[in-house]
Symmetry: C2
Subunit: 161 residues, 2 copies
DNA sequence: TAAATATGGACCCATGATGTCCATGATAAA
DNA sequence: TTTATCATGGACATCATGGGTCCATATTTA
């Protein structure tokens, strides 16, 4: 269970756009050279980012990509969800199995007018909780955060001299 | 990006072992019927859990599986790592690309005796932080926690009557 | 118009998840 | 000791997905 390379490419591409001098969009060629990945493949990824309103794209001569909104408003979670999809980290495959009947058995009120019970898998509940924590952290970190952090490190390095 | 079905099966199987009357191990047949999955496949999963010391297995007549330690000492993280492996959630595929050189460029001290710099990808750093939060939550939730929660719900249901 | 650029569809390949089948080995009951 | 029961592990089979290429098309600027 790992995030795909596409997510890697997407995040690094956005960082590059964030650093490039503003009002100058960056072509797919420059991006692909910088990241070390083919233009064809990177195009697909950038296209997804555009469809989701993370970047803007202009075709034609001197075209390219630029961030569609400020880097501090692009979170890691935004990017990950565009690339990886919005499915949950975990889905119980048999919510109506014997397993779950047993879990609810003791306090069960049998057939109190046929309602489907809607118990909800407790395993899933834990996993959903974990996912919420993961997402919260990813929401708190933006493209801008990485650039700021890099800048701070540079200063620190300079001061050491 | 999703946890596999095997993780699902493993967690539910352990719950079953946790609930079954103690000092009685449970055969693969009973487990497979309860979870609604084939014996063959579930065997593979149980075997992994055994190799990692989560469950014990005894062959022969009246054999089967039982928890190798108390249910409150089996965390979700334990189980997930056995099934999914211990690889990181994210690995930067090009830590020495031009991208990272640029990030470190401004404050760079060129060739101060050829050390490889060991910068470390900041994207990876964020992702590792996220992973730590995820793991912390999964460490705090055990098989026993789920059983306790199920018990509490039963009582609540009974009290409502 | 021509060159540069993004877009999207069709396709390919390797890998891993999911699952089956079978031979083997260990154990307890008869 | 024999036999039925049970776990183990290897060899496959199948299918979905990630990762990637190639090409035809549309759009824009010089």
């Amino acid at each position: 269970m790992q995030y795909s390379k596409s997510t890697d490419y997407a995040l690094h591409a956005l960082l590059h756009l964030g650093q490039s001098d503003r009002h100058n969009n960056v072509g797919i060629k420059e991006l692909s050279v910088t990241l070390g990945v083919s233009e064809s493949y990177l195009s697909k990824i950038m296209s997804k980012l555009r469809q989701d309103g993370i970047v803007r794209a202009v075709p034609g001569v001197n075209g390219g990509y630029e961030l569609a909104r400020p880097a501090e408003e692009i979170t890691f979670l935004d990017v990950i969800q565009v690339i990886e999809g919005r499915q949950h980290l975990f889905e119980c495959s048999n919510s109506n199995s014997q397993q779950h009947q047993l879990l609810a058995e003791a306090g069960d009120v049998p057939q109190e007018h046929e309602r489907p019970k809607k118990i909800g898998c407790l395993v899933e509940k834990v996993m959903d909780g974990a996912e919420q924590h993961l997402h919260q952290y990813l929401r708190e970190h933006t493209i801008q955060w990485v650039m700021d952090e890099a800048f701070k490190r540079c200063n620190h390095e300079v001061n050491k001299k």
